[in-house]
């Protein structure tokens, strides 16, 4: 860590991690709703809908707080300048975390905007906007004053601005349901397949430069290409959500063609990461951070690229749309693309924030956390996929009633629940490990060129 204000990232990471734990616990309850019969008296007080709103909003909140923390860590190092208003950054954390907690408590009492994933009530939306403005002003002014322009900064700032602008489109009430969904996707799709990809690509490029020592020019050149392909396929690819909502028929063509190309930029990201890793000037240390980075890149491709492609063509989507197939894709894609990236950044930054010599740390428990969580989410996604294929065939192709077609699915939801237990255990290990991180025990020479000795660490 080179700059004092990078330390602001730390409280962001802590809050994000605690919300992450809460999110996955609520996830277990959701799975329980699917395989067990919840009595009417419980459903009346705490219905599935409330728990789902909490699960998804906590996800978005903690991922965004993680991205913000990562940005505060990255910006001073990239711009070679302290953050402009460090106190504002703390106030922003208090505001956003407070708004998030107020929203979750509100959901429990039925206070909601009532639109999936955008449940945060409109008055609280205004506080979110204030928080976003504080963030953009802080980062923007720092970048402008520093005048050390890099593509990484541009991609990050562009993604964050894009993200904030799109949030505004999700606030108004729309009379017409079709128009409502049309713009709902501007928030949901253009976030995860647009703005968030810009942020993720920038953070990945930064991590690759720092961890491999590969030249900035090389990394950033490929960053341009990745971003170009992400936006080329991602923006018009929004059309794959417009097939069945009452929009014109040409969206079947536009959505089908552009979204079929969406795996390519992710594949390029995999190839770039592999190439930069091969050309690295530094050893693969700490190995756990590397495990997270590579695991994330691979599962990003599998979850978002392959699982997404599997049901994006209109001929297939006609039958799979709005089924558990979407759930399967959603879980693996979010985990691979954004959860693992956040955790990679936390693992990369924590030793520096804590001032450990050589940026190494005691990794042991962290490996358990990674494998428990990753295999858990993978198994969960595969269980949802089986449930989704069953639902697609029984309900959509055969034409069975929804509740009859759901019967055999309950078993697979129980299998998903068992994997969910592994995920909760894994997340608990990760969070505990990150929050109590200890310096690497076997590092004798903290000075830079000591790869051989560090390599003696148990993996």
């Amino acid at each position: 860590m080179l700059y004092k204000t990078q330390r602001i990232a730390y409280p962001y990471f802590v809050v994000a991690l605690l919300l992450f734990v809460l999110q996955v616990i609520v996830g277990l309850w959701l799975a329980t709703n699917y395989f067990a019969t919840i009595p009417q008296s419980v459903v009346d007080v705490f219905p599935f809908s409330t728990a789902r709103a909490i699960h998804t909003n906590l996800l978005v909140l903690w991922l965004l707080l993680g991205f913000m923390g990562a940005t505060f860590y990255l910006i001073p190092e990239e711009t070679q300048r302290e953050l402009e208003w460090p106190r504002l950054a703390i106030a922003q954390l208090v505001l956003l975390a407070g708004t998030g907690v107020a929203a979750v408590v509100g959901f429990l009492f039925g206070w909601t905007q009532g639109r999936p994933l955008l449940e945060i009530p409109r008055p609280l939306d205004l506080l979110v906007v204030v928080g976003a403005l504080m963030f953009l002003a802080n980062v923007g002014v720092t970048i402008i004053k520093a005048r050390q322009w890099t593509v990484t900064q541009g991609s990050l700032l562009g993604g964050l601005t894009f993200l904030a602008l799109l949030y505004l489109i999700g606030i108004p009430f729309y009379n017409n349901l079709a128009v409502d969904w049309y713009y709902w996707w501007w928030v949901i799709h253009l976030w995860v397949e647009g703005a968030w990809e810009l942020i993720a690509a920038a953070l990945t490029a930064f991590l690759l430069m720092k961890m491999t020592g590969v030249e900035r020019g090389v990394v950033e050149k490929w960053l341009y290409v990745e971003l170009g392909l992400f936006l080329l396929t991602g923006i018009a690819g929004t059309g794959h959500h417009y097939y069945w909502l009452g929009a014109p028929r040409y969206w079947l063509w536009v959505g089908g063609i552009f979204s079929a190309l969406e795996p390519f930029p992710i594949l390029l990201m995999v190839v770039d990461t592999y190439r930069h890793t091969k050309e690295r000037a530094r050893p693969l240390r700490p190995s756990l951070t590397w495990l997270y980075l590579l695991g994330g890149v691979v599962l990003h491709f599998v979850g978002a690229g392959l699982f997404g492609f599997a049901h994006t063509l209109p001929q297939i989507n006609y039958y799979t749309h709005g089924s558990q197939v979407t759930v399967s894709h959603g879980h693996l894609a979010f985990f691979g693309a954004y959860v693992l990236l956040n955790l990679t950044f936390f693992y990369f930054a924590m030793p520096h924030l804590r001032g450990f010599p050589g940026g190494t740390y005691d990794e042991k428990a962290g490996h358990w956390g990674f494998w428990l969580t990753s295999l858990g989410v993978l198994g969960m996604s595969l269980s949802f996929a089986v449930a989704g294929v069953l639902q697609t065939y029984l309900e959509r192709v055969q034409g069975q009633d929804f509740m009859i077609a759901q019967r055999p699915i309950r078993f697979w939801m129980f299998v998903a629940f068992l994997h969910g237990l592994a995920v909760v255990a894994g997340v608990a290990v990760i969070v505990w490990h990150l929050l109590t991180l200890k310096p690497g025990a076997e590092v004798r020479e903290p000075a830079k060129p000591a790869p051989e000795k560090v390599a003696a660490q148990p993996v």
């Binding site: 009532g114 999936p116 017409n176 069945w244 009452g246 536009v254 979407t326």
Partner: protein, 238 residues
């Protein structure tokens, strides 16, 4: 690849996609009114949408396939359930779903809210969305109408249905009263014995459902109605 080419790919790719997307957005807006029958988007329908959002219905159900996947899709709820059946589910889910392994919360809706939501679902059911979802496809209803007409000539059950004017409330194919549950829908869930038993005293099976009892029909007549309805289920795909 040079950095210049890389930059060109970035700006070229982004602007092509963005321009196409914005142009199509403008055109889509021009077509929305016709495709969604916006002229029928009355104040009551909009109030229904507000009530629907206030009670967070969309975080269990999907509508147009979007939302949560815990409960049935509502895109064609109006054409498959009919007004009275939707009302009953909204007013007293604890009775309507007493046998179900998945429950719906009692939302304590006002009478007005119930009416508004019904109007909203009626409007949604008319949206022209490339005939999605497949399980409630228009084509499928029409096919079953053809089946019924063919069966009516030979089925004693069809004659009883005609005589008792069941289609004054229930739907079958493209005809019916839009008040009670669609026959094809019953066919998917119930067998002929159950239907015959239900006809004798609907209140016993579905308290508060408001359907008249048919004790004056003989067991054989009621069973023939049951067989007719049960035969409407599609056992194997499209």
């Amino acid at each position: 690849m040079t950095e210049k080419t890389a930059k060109w790919i970035f700006w070229g790719g982004t602007s092509v996609s963005l321009l196409l997307f914005l142009a199509l957005t403008v055109d889509t807006h021009r077509q929305f009114a016709a495709l969604t029958h916006a002229d029928k988007l009355s104040d009551q329908v909009v109030s229904g949408k507000r009530a629907f959002e206030k009670h967070n219905c969309n975080d269990c159900h999907t509508v147009l396939g979007f939302g949560a996947y815990y409960a049935p899709d509502l895109t064609r709820a109006y054409t498959r359930l009919g007004e009275a059946s939707i009302q009953r589910r909204l007013e007293s889910p604890e009775i309507a779903f007493v046998d179900s392994y998945r429950k719906m919360p009692h939302q304590k809706l006002s009478e007005q809210e119930v009416k508004d939501i019904v109007a909203y679902l009626a409007w949604i059911s008319q949206i022209e969305n490339q005939d999605w979802p497949p399980q409630h496809s228009e084509k499928r209803w029409k096919r079953s109408t053809a089946r019924m007409l063919a069966a009516a000539r030979v089925s004693p059950g069809a004659a009883v249905i005609e005589q008792e004017q069941c289609l004054a409330c229930h739907n079958l194919g493209a005809t019916g009263g839009n008040q009670a549950i669609r026959f094809e829908w019953i066919a998917k869930r119930r067998d002929s014995r159950w239907i015959a038993d239900f006809l004798e005293d609907p209140e016993k099976h579905a308290p508060g459902c408001g359907m008249p009892a048919y004790p004056h029909l003989s067991l054989a007549q009621r069973e023939s109605v049951g067989e007719f309805i049960a035969a409407l289920s599609a056992p194997s795909g499209r």
